[in-house]
Every structure is written in structure tokens, then in C-alpha cells.
Amino acid sequence: MRQEYIITAYTENHIGLLNRVTIIFTRRKVNIESLTVSESAIAGISKFTIVINEEKEKVVNIVKQIEKLIDVLKAFYHTNEEMIFQEIALYKVTTQALMDSDQIEKMIRSHNARILEITKEYTVIEKTGHKEETQALFEGLNQFGVLQFIRSGRIAITRSPVERLSEFLRERDALFTKMEAKAK
């Protein structure tokens, strides 16, 4: 059954790695719905958050292929239910539309959005949430004309209490120590 999966990967921060990761998807003709890469809590280690719509079997295969890359420390996959995730969206509307009625103001309140900047010509609104939520606000605002709209890729953290990376790095250190001891 195809469903949304969130793939997360911890990698060295090396040039070209983004390319190496994404061609794994391209080769299998899997579309990436959303992709975010940024530095993790540990300096020098990047975190990829990739959303795809696929069957589990294929997701497992892709995660193994990602993990096989030399510069990848560890990769995981999760269903949406297993993670807390957010996206951020920015909307630009005319300030005139904001002044003409109280509709936009009400929408901002009811969607828990906020205003980032107001100029004479335009107003920029920010909303974080799931895609359906940022989309709902877009559709609401668009009744008054949205000049510009942008939505970020997804960011996500697991529901487990520990950061899996630190746990993983500890395990790997232990593995290397064991291997070195064995080699001697």
C-alpha cells in the first residue's frame, strides 16, 4: 500500500552528497514530495528529511541504499504517525486587502498564523503546520488574492525520548572499538 513515509538520514556534511542521496530516488523513479537538509544538533553532521509516497518494501530498499553511501551515518524511515512534523509557509497579500475587511485578520487568528511584515503595499503572513493546514490558509487568503506563496520542506522529530543520532554514534564508537580490539 502506498502511503506517506518520512525518511531521515544523518550524513557527513560533504559536497555532492545531496546529489548522491537524490539519485537513489531518481533511479527508482520515485518522486520526492519534500526535502529538507540542514545541520543537525551535532556540528558537521547534516540531517536529511525526505517525504515520499511509496510502498513500504520500496521505502525499506531505498533506506538501505541511502545507508550504503559512504558518507551516510544512518538512515531511518517512519510513517507520519510515528513523527511530529511541521512545515512553514509564507503568504504575501496586499495591505489594501487587509484594510478592506476584517476577514483576513480573522483568518490569521483562527489559523494561528502571524504577520511578519507590513508595508504600504503588502503584508507577509507566516503559518506553521501540516500541509493541509498551510494549504487551507492559502485557499482562504486567496479569495482576496495571494501575491506570493511559499511552503518549506517538512522537518520532523521522532516521538521517542532520545535523539537517535547520539544513541547511534555511541553504538558505532563501541563497534569500532570492538573491531580494533579484534584486529589487534
Binding site: 555532492g16 538501505k64 550504503k68 558505532r172 563497534l175 569500532f176
Partner: protein
């Protein structure tokens, strides 16, 4: 007076200032490189200039095309077990390596390709002979890296060797800009032993090992299939002890050939599309299938939905990404074949499965009567590929390195060559690269100079990389070339005959006079088409001190059988066209 050459044996303890190019060559020497296949050009000239001083340590072989260099590096690696190294310049030099890199990737061959690149300031400007070889080779390398300053060279080379040769081996490409070659650095060399994001081999899971042993001990019809993993991990002895203790029959993938002696009583032959009859059909009759160091390629499995469904499948494999990729396993043991088999052998009971082994032998007899007898002792006048191949290994006591190209020549060689030792078999498996044979044979001879190297190649494949006759001639390299000439692209013609109503669309191919051509290169040769002349001609070829080309004109429209048609089931392995 000590020369430069004498001083370079050991890498300096204290850093010494030198150019990037010299550091590159010294790093290779420190890694034990003795042979480099390459072709110079603008962007790699500083490295070639440095190489000029290192003639006593490193043999450079000037190929005639970069594809020849990379296949030669593969052939070298496959027979020697060492990392094969090749050099090419930027742009077209680098792109000409691509086929061989893809071949090495899919066949897990450790090679390092070093390509020159335009000066770093020119990167991305469409400079003369600039190509994005890092981008191009990304999906077909285990690792690649662009070096843009001299200081990076020793570490990058050390990493390249570590990555190429450990775990599941594979190709590494290093792209080095011209300014990095000219630049200076303080050189000291240290081998790489650890990369925190890369675990070449995971420790064996003892629980899984025990589960596997239990399954094997309870099995009535256990069957072991093995691949190149045996050769890559040096597990030939462990494989032997394991099958002898458990008394189970074993069969090889195309790339696993020569890991087990051909005439071992438990060696049942080869799996796959044109493999032997018994190994294929017994896959669907065994109760426990133990797969070691192989990846369930579609040419081995046929239709995966009808593959070994009745059996418990145990998969021993170093690459975790191969587990459950094609065939779902009941027990998976991630680890190298040598360690894992050694551990597993201690846990299994000594057994004899005489009745089960006899079933294999009966099936073998069936194949013998219907196929092998016609291939090896034909009654029709036309020569068969099988009889030519078998004669060559008979005359060399099964001790020759057999290299093949791709197609019918390859399948005939895989089926009929006999091997007494391991690492005697070099072929392009996963990628099926026509044109692989001649340059790979060249590399194999450099990798195992003490062994006889015999190439089997078709009239199609030889013409893809025939320019390497020039290299063989210049090196006076004793490679024995057997062209199995049927004036067709034989394997495609076979498929056209069987599956495309004999519509021979563009498979008839003409050839030059191969003997004359060889002669133009100063290589002696002969052409035979008569069975009576074959043995004498073959002996003359084997006895030749230098290179030799023997063209054998064989039956034009012979087919390779048995055959599991693409997507078919392994239990329906056809012994002839009449069974289609």
C-alpha cells in the same frame, strides 16, 4: 649515489615538501601499486611527468582507449585480488572510463580511477576538456571525490584504497584538478583504517548464525549456492570445509566460478539462465537454500515469484542492502563469507545426503545426454564453442586464467571451462559489457603473469575494443586470444531465433581478416574451421611465447542450452529449442 627511485621505497616519516603529482605517485607506491593502465592528456600531464621518475616501481601500460584501461584494471583486480588502478585525462578521457566503472560497480570489483581535471578556477566554465565526471560517475562509483588542492592528495588516496578494497568492494574515482597536481604539499603517507560513516563489515549476529545452523541440521535436501563473495573474501577453503562437512551439493553463480574446483564431487555447476540443468531445477526442490556471497540477480532467479518458494532461505552476504532486496530470506547473516562460513561450519552436523546428491547427478546426466554430449563430442561437421573451450582447459590442466567477452562465447566458456584453482575466471557479469574481454585479458595477464591467460571472445565483441591489440603488441604480452567466429552477434541471433520468429534483425556481422589484422600488429595467429586441425592449432597457440590470435570458425547458428527464458521459472529449464 642513490637515485630518486631507490629513495621512494618507503614513504617518508617526516613530512617532505613535494608537488601534488609526486605525492600522488608516492601514495600509490605506498599502497603497493605495481601496475597502472592509462592514457595521458592535457589535464593529467603533471602526474604523467611525475610518473616518469618512478619506472622501477610502477609499470605503466599505455592502452589504446581509456575503456581499455579500466577493463584492464578490472581484469588485473579480479585475478590478483589487489586494487586495479587506471589513469585518464579530463573530459573525453574521463567519460571513456564510464562503461568500465559501471561494470566494476555491478560486479563489485575494486578499482581506482584517477582522472585529471581542468584547473580549479575553470571548474564550471565549460573549459576545454572539462566534463563533470564527479556528477557523471556518482551513481556508478562506491565513492568519488574531487581533489582541488595538493594537501588533500595523500588522505584522498588512502581513503580511496580503503573504500575500494574493504566491505563489498567497488570502484572509486578520484578527479584531480591540474592546479592540485602542480601545487606543493608537505607529504607524509598514512593508510586509512577507519571512516566513521562506513562500516565495511558488521560483526556476525550469533543468534542468526544459530538459527541458520538449526535449519541446516534439520534439512533433508539442503543446497548451497555461492557467488563472487567467496572469491572476494578468500573463503574458498571455508566453502569446501562447509559443504564437505554437511555433505550438501553446491552450485555457483556466473561470477562465483572457480571458487570451488570444477571436478569436486559436490560441485554441481552453474546457476542461471544458461547455467546447468540440475542447479536450476533443484532450486525449486530443496528444503533449505543457503546463498553465500551472491545477490539473487534476475539472471539467476528467473521469475522471483516462483523461485525457491518451498525452501527456507538463508542468505549470507556482506552488503546489508542485498538482504531481502530480491528474495525474501528466512535467516539473514550480514557478514563476510569467510568468517561467517567458518563460524557456521563449527555449528553444523556432519552429514551425507547421498540420495539428494544422486538426484542432482541424475539431472546432470539428463543434461549430459541432451546437451553436453552434442557440445563436447559433436557428430556434425561444424565446430562448437563448447569443444573449443574444453580443449583449451584440457591442454592447460585446468590451470589457465579464462577470460571471456559477453554473449554465447561467455556462456560456452562458463559451461565448459574447467578450473583447478580459484581466481581463474574473469567475465563481465552484471553489466554484460561486450568489449570487456580483450582489455580484461590484458589486465589479467599483468595481474597473474605466471599463469596462462586465454580469452574467448566473439567476432562482435572483439571488434568493440580491438584497438587493444596495439597495447598487447607494444607490451609483447602473452595473451592467447581465441575468437569464436560465427559471423553473427550470436546471443542476440539466438533470441531472435527463439523469441522473434527468426527475424535476424541486424545480427549478421562481417569481420576483417583477423589473422592478417593480428599480423599487422606483429601478433602471430591462425584460423581453423576443421575439427581435425583444432588441437594442433590450439597447442601452437598455447606454446607461443608471446601473444597469439586463434580464430575458430564455428557453427553459425548454434544455440546455448540449457536455458531459462527471461522471466521464466528455474524449474522449467529448457534443454533444447524443442522444449519451448
Amino acid at each position: 649515489m642513490t637515485t630518486k627511485n631507490e629513495k621512494i621505497k618507503n614513504s617518508p616519516k617526516e613530512p617532505v615538501e613535494m608537488s601534488g603529482s609526486e605525492a600522488m605517485i608516492r601514495s600509490l607506491v605506498a599502497e603497493g601499486v605495481d601496475t597502472i593502465f592509462g592514457y595521458p592528456g592535457g589535464a593529467i600531464m603533471p602526474i604523467y611527468d611525475a610518473l616518469y621518475d618512478f619506472g622501477h616501481h610502477v609499470k605503466h601500460v599505455l592502452v589504446r582507449h581509456e575503456q581499455g584501461a579500466v577493463h584492464a584494471a578490472q581484469g588485473y583486480a579480479r585475478v590478483s585480488g589487489k586494487v586495479g588502478v587506471c589513469f585518464a585525462t579530463s573530459g573525453p578521457g574521463a567519460t571513456n572510463l564510464i562503461t568500465g566503472i559501471a561494470d566494476a560497480m555491478i560486479d563489485s570489483t575494486p578499482i581506482i580511477c584517477i582522472t585529471g581535471q581542468v584547473t580549479s578556477g575553470l571548474l564550471g566554465t565549460d573549459a576545454f576538456q572539462e566534463s563533470d565526471v564527479i556528477g557523471i560517475s556518482m551513481p556508478i562509483t562506491k565513492w568519488n571525490y574531487q581533489i582541488t588542492s595538493a594537501e588533500e592528495i595523500p588522505e584522498a588516496i588512502a581513503k580511496a584504497f580503503y573504500i575500494a578494497s574493504t566491505g563489498r568492494p567497488g570502484p572509486v574515482l578520484l578527479d584531480i584538478t591540474k592546479d592540485a597536481q602542480f601545487g606543493k604539499l608537505q607529504f607524509a603517507y598514512e593508510k586509512c583504517t577507519k571512516i566513521r560513516s562506513y562500516v565495511p563489515e558488521f560483526p556476525t549476529d550469533k543468534k542468526h548464525l544459530k538459527k541458520a545452523a538449526d535449519l541446516i541440521n534439520e534439512a533433508k535436501k539442503p543446497y548451497l549456492i555461492y557467488g563472487q563473495g567467496i572469491l572476494l573474501s578468500g573463503a574458498e577453503k571455508e566453502l569446501l570445509s562447509f559443504i564437505e562437512k554437511t555433505g550438501m551439493p553446491a552450485a555457483s553463480t556466473l561470477l562465483g566460478i572457480s571458487a570451488l574446483q570444477s571436478d569436486h564431487p559436490l560441485n554441481m555447476g552453474m546457476l542461471g539462465m544458461h547455467g546447468n540443468y540440475a542447479p536450476n531445477i533443484k532450486t525449486n526442490e530443496c528444503d533449505v537454500l543457503i546463498a553465500v556471497g551472491m545477490r539473487f540477480d534476475d539472471r539467476v532467479t528467473g521469475n522471483i515469484n516462483t523461485y525457491a518458494k518451498q525452501a527456507k532461505v538463508i542468505h549470507i552476504e556482506i552488503d546489508p542492502a542485498e538482504i531481502d532486496k530480491n528474495i525474501k530470506t528466512d535467516v539473514a547473516i550480514v557478514g563476510d563469507a569467510k568468517h561467517t562460513l567458518r563460524l557456521l561450519t563449527t555449528l553444523v552436523e556432519e552429514k551425507k545426503h547421498t540420495a539428494w546428491v544422486n538426484e542432482f547427478l541424475q539431472s546432470r546426466q539428463k543434461e549430459h545426454d541432451k546437451v553436453i554430449v552434442n557440445d563436447l563430442t559433436p557428430t556434425k561437421p561444424g565446430l562448437t564453442m563448447g569443444e573449443v573451450v574444453r580443449l583449451s582447459t584440457d591442454l592447460t590442466d585446468n590451470k589457465a586464467v579464462i577470460v571471456t567477452d559477453v554473449g554465447q562465447n561467455q556462456m560456452a566458456a562458463a559451461r565448459y571451462a574447467r578450473f583447478d584453482q580459484s581466481r581463474l575466471w574473469v567475465t563481465s557479469g552484471g553489466l554484460g559489457t561486450m568489449g570487456f574481454g580483450l582489455p580484461a585479458a590484458m589486465g589479467a595477464k599483468f595481474g597473474a603473469p605466471e599463469k596462462e591467460v586465454i580469452l574467448f571472445v566473439g567476432d562482435g565483441g572483439i571488434q568493440m575494443t580491438i584497438q587493444e591489440l596495439g597495447t598487447i603488441s607494444q607490451e609483447n604480452l602473452p595473451v592467447k586470444i581465441v575468437i569464436l567466429n560465427n559471423d553473427f552477434l550470436g546471443m542476440v541471433r539466438q533470441w531472435q531465433e527463439l523469441f522473434f520468429e527468426k527475424r535476424y534483425s541486424f545480427t549478421e556481422i562481417t569481420s576483417p581478416d583477423f589473422v592478417k589484422l593480428a599480423s599487422a600488429y606483429g601478433i602471430p595467429g591462425a584460423s581453423v574451421s576443421d575439427r581435425k586441425e583444432l588441437e594442433t592449432a590450439m597447442k601452437e597457440m598455447i606454446n607461443a611465447k608471446g601473444p597469439y590470435l586463434l580464430e575458430v570458425k564455428i557453427e553459425q547458428e548454434d544455440n546455448i542450452f540449457p536455458m531459462v527464458p527471461a522471466g521464466g521459472t528455474v524449474s522449467r529449464c529448457l534443454l533444447g529449442a524443442d522444449e519451448l
